[in-house]
Amino acid sequence: MYHKEKSIQTKNSASALYNNLGVLRIAPRRLTYFAVVHANVVNMVSASWDGLDYSHRQLQSKEPNVATSTSLVTQAAFCVLPSRDLLVVTSQKGIQIYESDGSIMVYWHALETPDTPTDKAVFARGISAVWESYICVGVSSGSILVFDVPSKGSNITLSEVLEEHTESITDMASECSGSQECIADLVSADDGGNLCVWKSGEEFQLLNKIHGFDMSCSSVKLWKGTVVAGYGTGQIRLYEAVTGILHAEVNAHARWIYSLDIAPFSGLLLSAAEDSLVRVWHLNLTPESNSVEVAHLHNECVTDTQICGAKFCDSDGYAFAVTGYDLSEIIRYTQS
């Protein structure tokens, strides 16, 4: 179904972090941007579609002052808003927002760090663009910061802080089907496996809370009102977002899931885990019976590699890219 293409070499290897691959397709310029985190640096590659041009750039995590040691980056993700595309980088010290090519940093938000070290780590993690003009970022305390983003310029402001989760945020996702009919706009996940479903607005509204089983939900997606969540148990669960009804459960992987992605036009689902396997599934929603069918389509094994990022490169799922811990390349696969 898929075959391996030529990999893109990166300046350094990918770190073992959840959802460690960002992909942004720029159709007018026939380019795709990739972003991969390595310790305190984000490696960006711009790849032309004809496979001839590659340009690289590295972004550093912001160090507040020289007295402290380097700040590790936890995630780098592209946020697509109607008016603009941005790259958001979360780290131990705060949140950096760049223009999508990484050329200019347009905003910096410092996390509140206590004067004396607490027994819990402090960091930001979990990034999602939401609806018209919001970017939401999670924090290790469980808070979610909602930033209001103007259509251009750097006047980004913190609009709201959502305090619903009590455990570290792991991932967040917004409704990606493009449908205006969906009630839920955003889902957030935490280290306890708890999922919160939100409606965006001047004040975000909590629509539903789906309780976890004390097992981290490391990656989450929202498509046509269905939450797709990947867990440390290697399982994938599909829930109806607003009601929390379980649609399906898959014993998908033998180790911790690190990344999920959905191709919204085709309903293809990608799952990747520490067990070195990437799996492609198809989700079939039947609104009449309010059920979801999950069909397995394809497996790819990246030998001896704990996969940390996997994303489709286009909305149909024609191609996807994968990163692995200690690997200095972005591996690509295309439909045969």
Binding site: V66, T68, D119, H247, N251, A254, V294
Partner: protein, 376 residues
């Protein structure tokens, strides 16, 4: 990221160090008295209340350089002496062993079982000295107390922090190559068959529910691997069967040449900055201060430990001008690599003993500490 890494780092790296030293002591026919003394001194210092209490404070994991400094001081808490090149080799072995254990750790929580395997074996080494055994038991109890409340998510964060710390290290260890847990490229072998970790379902099942959330259908999919049911869970108490073999002493049955290392072909140079940030220097000061005073009687019973099989190799390794490293026991693909390995080793050995002045204006105590590091 995680602020709880240091105790596990020192127990596991220190544990690996003790395994290797034990093997070298036996291989070089050191007297039982001397061996016991070395073990007791090192274990006693490592598990001293002051040191462990410092480690247990929530703090970041800093650089390899700081870790190396503290571990060298630990090794020198005994009457044994290691030259910088030997320490470098020892550090590589220790780190690669721990990286292997962390990489293959079935569940993040099993990092504790790996640590307990190290503690169990260390306890055996010092079993004839009740004072030291007590220290080990006390430490073990404290570890159980602190870590039993961590969630799986927090353990995974801890594991991820360790993996980032070990990133890009692909030193090939002849024992690992021989046992085929490491490939010639330096990467560890990851199997897609065998028992799944405890608490994980064997992959292959899709359960579909109706609109009420009730299961109505089951189907299977091909997993591309051959997984089986999990084995029983290891014991997290003070004593018990840990079940996992990770963290146990791999060097007991092997021959000395199996502690040989060589750098993998595409070795990445360390990106660690030469400066030590103020936070890191503070940690270093606290850790060094909390260890028992170094045994100053170097004149009497002190002896040099040989990490290599022949005197000639020991001489060459001790010579920082980079004589050729003979690695006949290790699988080498091209002769070129030996040259690279030798020059790389020499460069690192030289860096470790270099007199460096910190440019950081915030550190005035820094000068003393850096000088102290270089004297080791």
């Amino acid at each position: 990221m995680s602020v709880r890494t240091l105790p596990l780092v020192f127990i596991n790296l220190g544990g690996e160090m003790i395994y290797i030293l034990d093997q070298r002591l036996r291989a070089s026919n050191t007297s039982d008295d001397n061996s016991e003394k070395v073990m007791n001194d090192i274990v006693g210092t490592m598990f001293s209340k002051a040191f462990i209490d410092e480690l247990l404070k929530p703090q970041q994991l800093y650089s390899h350089r700081t870790l190396k400094t503290v571990l060298t001081r630990l090794a020198h808490a005994s009457i044994m002496r290691l030259n910088p090149a030997s320490m470098e080799r020892l550090y590589e072995l220790m780190v690669m062993a721990f990286k292997y254990q962390v990489f293959l750790c079935p569940r993040p929580k099993d990092l504790l079982l790996i640590s307990y395997n190290h503690i169990d074996t260390i306890r055996e080494f010092v079993k004839d000295t009740p004072v030291v055994v007590n220290q080990v038991d006390e430490t073990h109890r404290k570890i159980i107390e602190v870590y039993s409340s961590l969630s799986e998510g927090e353990f995974q964060l801890l594991r991820q922090t360790l993996l980032i710390f070990f990133q890009d290290m692909h030193v090939r260890v002849s024992l690992f190559l021989k046992n085929q847990v490491q490939r010639p490229t330096g990467r560890f072998a990851l199997s897609t068959s065998g028992p799944v970790p405890h608490g994980i379902e064997v992959p292959g099942l899709i359960r579909t529910c109706n609109s009420k959330g009730r299961e109505v259908r089951r189907s299977e999919f091909p997993t591309g691997g051959s997984y089986s049911s999990p084995v029983r869970e290891g014991c997290f108490e003070l004593h018990g069967d840990r079940v996992t073999r990770l963290g146990r002493n791999m060097y007991t049955l092997s021959h000395p040449e199996e502690t040989r290392t060589s750098k993998a072909p595409s070795v990445k140079t360390s990106d660690a900055p030469n400066l030590l940030a103020k936070e890191e220097l503070n940690l270093l000061a606290r850790l060094m201060g909390s260890m028992k005073a170094e045994n100053k009687t170097k004149v009497e019973a002190g002896f040099q430990i040989n990490l290599f099989t022949t005197d000639q190799e020991e001489e060459e390794a001790g010579d920082p001008s980079g004589a050729e490293d003979s690695m006949s026991g290790v699988i080498n693909i091209q002769a070129m690599q030996d040259e690279q390995a030798a020059t790389e080793l020499a460069r690192i050995a030289g860096q470790f003993t270099e007199q460096e002045e910190p440019e950081n204006p915030y550190c005035n105590k820094g000068d003393d500490l850096l000088a102290m590091m270089d004297d080791l």
